[in-house]
Amino acid sequence: MTLHPKATLMDAQDLARALTRIAHEIIERNKGAASLALVGIHTRGVPMAERLADLIERFEGVRPLAGKLDITLYRDDLTEIALQPVVRRTEVPFDVSGMRIVLCDDVLYTGRTARAALDALVDMGRPGVIQYAVLVDRGHRELPIRADYVGKNVPTSRSEVVKVRLAEVDGVDGVDLLEQVDG
């Protein structure tokens, strides 16, 4: 199976604008940055949370807390995958109890990652509020989950792949739509 590029969904500038808008929406919805924490889901949710924290600090003069979450130990499909997933460290260096947490992830698809992330967060304490920010919502939910902040809604088919690239991980910013082709 190979992946063929199909379309560019967002270029670097689109992505920057979307993050700026999401940062403003987070501030608006939470009435500032007090007791706000951005928690990125590995891998690309982590730089996304850092960037949102930078933006919110610039707009509000207060830097929200930031953390990293690895949800591997909470996945519900561990028996289905062929290769052993790499477990990474969770770094949430603050007490989540009572905090307003914004979970950050690159793509919202089935909702299973978000479900796992919620379980992982709740095992650390009792957050006051958990919200969910994604760069791309591509549909096809398998669980009753929705995002509070969305960079771009993209209707997709299941044979397509949404590839988000962030400079910190991939060297370049952008979102592409790819098509899976058998053979």
Binding site: T43, L73, L83, P85, Y109, D123, M124
Partner: protein, 325 residues
């Protein structure tokens, strides 16, 4: 292709290919051992939380099959399985009533009918876990077989050493001294395997009757009958439990003489590296193989060894089970 495979492409280091069982560290490469240690870091983090449990192994069943007395190892595996939400079935086989060979196979057949995904096995006969692995589809973890191997103990010893030094730069140039009844010790054999594989040098030390020559043939291993020689410049000194039976069968002249020559003491530690650690796989005979005060000294990491047993075994169970179905 599952949805998750799309959501989580391999990022960072690729998944490591590892053996299906944990029978002997000879089967595991340095790379797979380092991957286990990385997973252990994450498991150790779980054990520091208020809720010391993750759902990673939900739906898996771990059977513990102990043909030899053990409290700490069995409890440690039990905790490691339950902390990942696996179910645990325990079989404690009375040592004397179990004969080897056929009955071992029959026992396994019986318990296999209860559908475990992995068995943790301790057996007085070297090679029993490997034999069991041929008879079942489940994964096998060797929790000690005869004098041969006790791989998870060696892993937790090496992990304890690694995590005792902030900014640890690797095992190259590290010197470990193992002192005592090396001949009868599976802990010593597995530690030799693990530490030399990771790049360390191991000095084995004990009286002539308890120090087999063949272990000295391995690269990175030296043998000595003099405690001072083994300890000099060592970064870690591990004292092995001395079993009193050894005196009865004439391998040791007297306990007093053993103490005099081979007890790991504060005085002996003056020859070691200034930051050297004191280790003991337990259970320990205070003031026999190790000076009592030294066991409680700040250089002693004996309690850390016990504590690290759980996350190390969590990592082993996780690594062998996930992706196995």
């Amino acid at each position: 292709m599952t949805a998750a495979a799309v959501v989580v492409p391999a990022a960072g280091s690729p998944p490591t290919k590892h053996p299906r069982h944990m029978l002997d560290l000879a089967d595991w490469s340095a790379e797979t051992i380092h991957a286990l240690f990385d997973t252990t870091d994450v498991m150790a983090q779980v054990m520091t939380r208020t809720i010391k449990r993750v759902p990673a192994l939900q739906g898996f069943t771990v059977g513990t099959l102990f043909y030899e007395d053990s409290t700490r190892t069995r409890l440690s595996f039990d905790r490691a399985a339950r902390a990942q939400s696996a179910d645990v079935i325990s079989f404690a086989a009375g040592g004397s009533s179990v004969s080897k060979g056929e009955s071992l196979k029959d026992t396994l057949k019986t318990i296999d009918a209860m559908k475990s995904d992995l068995y943790v096995v301790r057996h007085p006969a070297a090679g029993a876990p490997r034999q069991l692995a041929r008879w079942t589809d489940a994964a096998i973890v060797n929790a000690g077989d005869g004098r041969r191997a006790h791989p998870t103990q060696a892993l937790l010893d090496a992990y304890t050493f690694k995590t005792s030094f902030p900014g640890f730069a690797g095992f190259d140039g590290v010197r470990l001294a193992i002192v005592g009844d090396v001949a009868h010790s599976r802990v010593a054999r597995s530690n030799v395997e693990a530490w030399t594989k990771l790049g360390a040098q191991v000095a084995l030390c004990g009286p002539r009757t308890l120090l087999p020559d063949e272990l000295g043939d391995r690269p990175g291993v030296t043998l000595t009958h003099r405690l001072e020689e083994a300890v000099e410049g060592a970064h870690a000194v591990m004292a092995l439990r001395l079993q009193h039976e050894r005196m009865a069968c004439g391998l040791l002249p007297s306990l007093a003489e053993y103490r005099q020559r081979y007890q790991v003491t504060r005085a002996a530690m003056r020859l070691a590296h200034p930051d050297a650690l004191v280790m003991h796989p337990g259970p320990m005979n205070r003031d026999v193989e190790i000076e009592g005060e030294l066991a409680d000294d700040p250089r002693s990491v004996i309690e850390a060894q016990v504590a690290n047993g759980v996350p190390v075994r969590m990592a082993v169970l996780y690594t062998l089970l996930v992706g196995s179905r």
